[in-house]
């Protein structure tokens, strides 16, 4: 299974961009599952479900959504395997600039939008610096000049990443993202894999610097996803 982690700032266009990309993957006959981690509420599950794919949601509530995310990666992985998914798209909450959800061996896509301002690439930290792919959205509403400046600022922060300019409304650019996903390597298991960057501090084992995934490495306050959540509304 290819494990795709989608990160980025709030409302950057993560779901919009992935919906178009998943449609291309489905056209190729691939089985895709999607999971959304958020804090209090999300309607992303309804949007992903409209594609006719299995969808799970995890709401972290009073937990740091990032810690909640890492403490559930194993369970999310098994859930997607039960769905017989060939590709799992995991959309993170992306609430804080210190978020660091990228995992070694999993394709990490950071979605960031042109409207967020040219200082944003410098400010966002690990979600951008550790990404394999940076999807830059909302280029349709800013000038060409600003798109070029923004792109350069992204390159300065993460020179390794492939940058794809994407329009979340029309899906333009999503074919390239599909290609990147198909070219990424599948993973057999998530346990034992390592976060690319330590998480911000809180009150579980990951707060004190743990970076290895799996129940055996977890202690303190841990909350697990309830996979029974039905589509809201």
């Amino acid at each position: 299974m290819r494990f795709i982690i989608v990160t980025g700032t709030p409302a950057a266009g993560k779901t919009s961009v992935m919906m178009h990309t998943i449609r291309h993957l489905l056209t190729e006959g691939l089985k895709v599952a999607a999971c959304k981690i958020d804090c209090l509420e999300t309607s992303d599950d309804r949007r992903y479900r409209s594609l006719g794919i299995p969808v799970a949601v995890g709401l972290s509530d009073y937990f740091c959504p990032d810690h909640f995310y890492v403490a559930n990666l194993e369970e999310i992985f098994s859930w997607a395997e039960e769905q017989e998914a060939e590709i799992l798209v995991l959309e993170t909450a992306g609430l804080c600039h210190r978020c660091a959800p990228a995992v070694d061996g999993c394709l990490s896509i950071c979605v960031i939008d042109n409207l967020s301002g040219i200082d944003t690439p410098r400010k966002v930290g690990p979600i951008l610096t550790t990404a394999d792919i940076v999807a830059v959205s909302k280029g349709d509403i800013v000038s060409q000049a600003e798109r070029e400046v923004f792109r350069r600022k992204v390159e300065m922060v993460n020179p390794r990443a492939r940058i794809i300019e994407l329009n979340g409304l029309t899906g333009q650019g999503s074919l390239r993202l599909k290609k990147e996903i198909l070219e990424s390597s599948p993973v057999n298991r998530i346990e034992g894999k390592e976060l690319r960057y330590s998480m911000p501090a809180a009150v579980c084992s990951y707060c004190s610097g743990e970076t290895i995934i799996g129940s055996t490495y977890q202690m303190g306050n841990i909350k697990k996803v309830d996979f029974g959540r039905k589509s809201s509304g």
Binding site: L115, I141, S143, Q144, A145, E146, V149, R152, L175
Partner: protein
């Protein structure tokens, strides 16, 4: 250097082969894309932007200097094939015009950014009705000023070889002058428009229908002559427009005086 772009036919929305099998546009040429809403203008542009190789819904193939996307193998000298100026675009950076242009020029690694910046502001002022000064904050420019600045910047600082002008309305920018300026810089200029003047200004126009390229029409000598008359009518109309803007009223007499009757 991009010398020409070719678009090889794919299919229309009913999966029929397109009538026009090949469309070629050279650097310095202006192509108008015309057709009713929903006829496939946006898909055509998007195919060029994505350097399509049969994978888009239209199944078209785009060639640049006779080479397909795969032939270049990631060694393209430009970052982005198409630079766009459209009605929806705005500047969102809180900076002065001069600071912003300098930053853009530096990022593009242009020698002597101060000189290019001056040149961009000069061209902007030739295209825009109301003057733009280098100290103006870029976010407070009017629609016409912004569009003029975008055109000047695309022509002189951005390196995209193809420039797309999408439905730029007549508010405060000389569009005909903007298009010939871009073409003069050796760009491939593509204009999506419903305006007869802009269509005739182009060297040729592609007519879209049901998602396919239906007809390729070279602008005739007669049309070029008609264009001159249209421009005259437009100038007369703009006198009326200004009259209304300044609180005047219009009657048959003003039309006669303006040689519109």
């Amino acid at each position: 250097m991009v010398k020409k772009i070719n678009i090889l036919a794919g299919q229309d929305k009913s999966a029929n082969l397109e009538v026009i099998e090949m469309l070629e546009v050279q650097a310095g040429e202006i192509l108008a894309v015309v057709g009713p809403t929903g006829s496939g203008k946006t898909q055509l542009i998007s195919d060029i932007e994505q350097y399509a190789a049969g994978e888009t819904p239209s199944r078209r193939h785009v060639l640049i200097n006779d080479l397909a996307a795969g032939d270049y193998d990631g060694q393209l000298s430009f970052r982005r094939l198409v630079a766009e100026v459209s009605q929806n675009m705005n500047f969102v950076i809180d900076m002065s015009v001069e600071e912003f242009l300098l930053m853009h020029a530096q990022i593009r690694e242009i020698d002597r950014p101060e000189i290019v910046t001056k040149e961009v502001i000069k061209v902007t002022n030739e295209l825009a009705g109301e003057p733009v000064s280098k100290q103006d904050n870029i976010t407070v420019l009017s629609g016409g000023q912004s569009r003029a600045l975008m055109v000047a910047d695309v022509a002189l600082i951005s390196n995209a070889p193809v420039v797309l002008i999408d439905e730029v309305e007549n508010a405060g920018i000389n569009r005909l002058q903007a298009m010939s300026f871009l073409a003069g810089q050796g760009k491939v200029v593509i204009v999506v428009t419903h305006d007869p003047m802009l269509s005739l200004m182009a060297d040729k126009r592609i007519v879209m229908k049901n998602g396919g390229m239906l007809k390729l029409q070279e602008t005739t000598q007669e049309e070029k002559t008609v264009l001159k008359q249209l421009i005259e009518v437009d100038q007369k109309l703009s006198i009326l427009r200004d009259n209304i803007r300044q609180g005047g009223s219009i009657n048959k007499e003003t039309l006669r005086e303006g040689e519109l009757l």
